[in-house]
Symmetry: C2
Subunit: 209 residues, 2 copies
DNA sequence: GATCACATCACACGTTGGTATGAGGTGTGG
DNA sequence: CCACACCTCATACCAACGTGTGATGTGATC
């Protein structure tokens, strides 16, 4: 495993104001956090390692896309890093919109250094939890992808609580065949009990929401 | 069933300013919503029917407890009605705090009437969803409460994926006894399959969070 | 002291689940 | 054309599950 969970979280700072950016950078580094800075959203998107653990500190007022719009765009792009927003000219509706969109915090400038540190820490913690859940889910999805169509079908009915006999009737199969698919599904999914398989099936449904 | 899901949602308006309160009341009634008004948090808490469907519209500046503190107090009191906050003298940190605490919306005064209607509608929808989930969960908890200690114990191990034989060894019982408790648990919980029981067990764990 | 819920177990029986052996068919890709 | 994955099934066997009968013992409640 090259970079499992031991990877250091990175704080991505997106702000077009150079001095603000550098100030934030040194603040976060002073408390032992790894930071990267970007002068625009475009620059940020061109960077690699956006799939690693961490969070984003985003200025609302940016050239081109606003921070708020960009926050919503991130979801579309599949980037699920938690976002901390900051602004010098914000109002209440703006902060409410950001929080509704899932922001971890929304800090008006000037903010106290400790407030920013707390917000970033909370964001990184949220990311850690998200990531742990996501990793499990992905493992399950991957294994599920190795199932043959029939195996998937049988697994669905098994985890819906039906008996082999019922499944056989429903699919127009003999009971033996159902048992074979059922066994294969258990093996491929790595389920050591029916309870296991049921929970995996539920996890799959959640991801499909 | 006297008042199942067909009950009309009620908007509870808590504001110490008489004219504001009455204005809101008539606004909401004009769009066909049932509203009740309270001049203080105390008055609100003395009211009955707080367990019915609906939401709360809460002014931040109130005599005694502030709207924000009261919002957090509601959770302690077991009142889970969604909250819409409003204020004439708010700032960003205040709105962020409210949203973090789970507020549906935070409206600075003066607000557009449509914004309030939208917020209240969203709050009522959230309540409807919450309530549907909660009702199912409560039914499961109630049934689980009718289990004997042994039955609960066996149910936990069964839904953990263990075999009767293993459970028997773990609890120092014979396999027959385990089967009896298992059967009783299935019957009392109303589970028609093991998959059912597993999901109920998971729902119980979620409620215990 | 009778009643009742709870808990325990032996024995027996039938059902359901899981796997192996052996065998046949289809379709795809090298 | 052959290998391979997939899908199908019969037969057989063993393990696990579920239930019923009958019995014993405890503690709480009335």
């Amino acid at each position: 495993m090259p970079q499992a969970s031991g990877e250091t979280p990175v704080v991505h700072i997106v702000d077009d104001d150079d001095s603000q950016r550098f100030g934030l950078d040194s603040l976060l580094r002073s408390v032992g956090l790894a930071a990267r800075t970007y002068g625009s959203t475009q620059e940020f998107l061109k960077a690699d390692r956006l799939d690693g653990p961490g969070c984003i500190v985003l200025d609302v007022r940016l050239p081109g896309t606003s921070g708020l719009d960009f926050q919503e765009e991130l979801a579309t792009l599949g980037i699920r890093l938690p976002v901390v927003l900051m602004t010098g000219h914000g109002d209440i509706p703006m902060s409410v919109r950001a929080m509704k969109a899932g922001a971890v915090d929304f800090l008006p400038k000037p903010f106290r250094e400790q407030d920013m540190i707390d917000a970033v820490t909370a964001a990184i913690n949220r990311d850690r939890l998200q990531r742990a859940n996501e990793n499990q889910a992905i493992a399950i999805v991957d294994r599920h992808a190795t199932l043959s169509p029939r195996e998937r079908e049988v697994m669905a009915l098994v985890t819906a609580g039906k008996m082999n006999k019922q499944i056989a009737a429903e699919l127009g199969l003999s009971e033996v065949t159902v048992k074979i698919h059922r066994g294969a599904a258990m093996r491929k999914m790595g389920a050591r009990s029916l309870a296991d398989l049921v929970r995996m099936a539920d996890a799959l449904k959640d991801r499909a929401r």
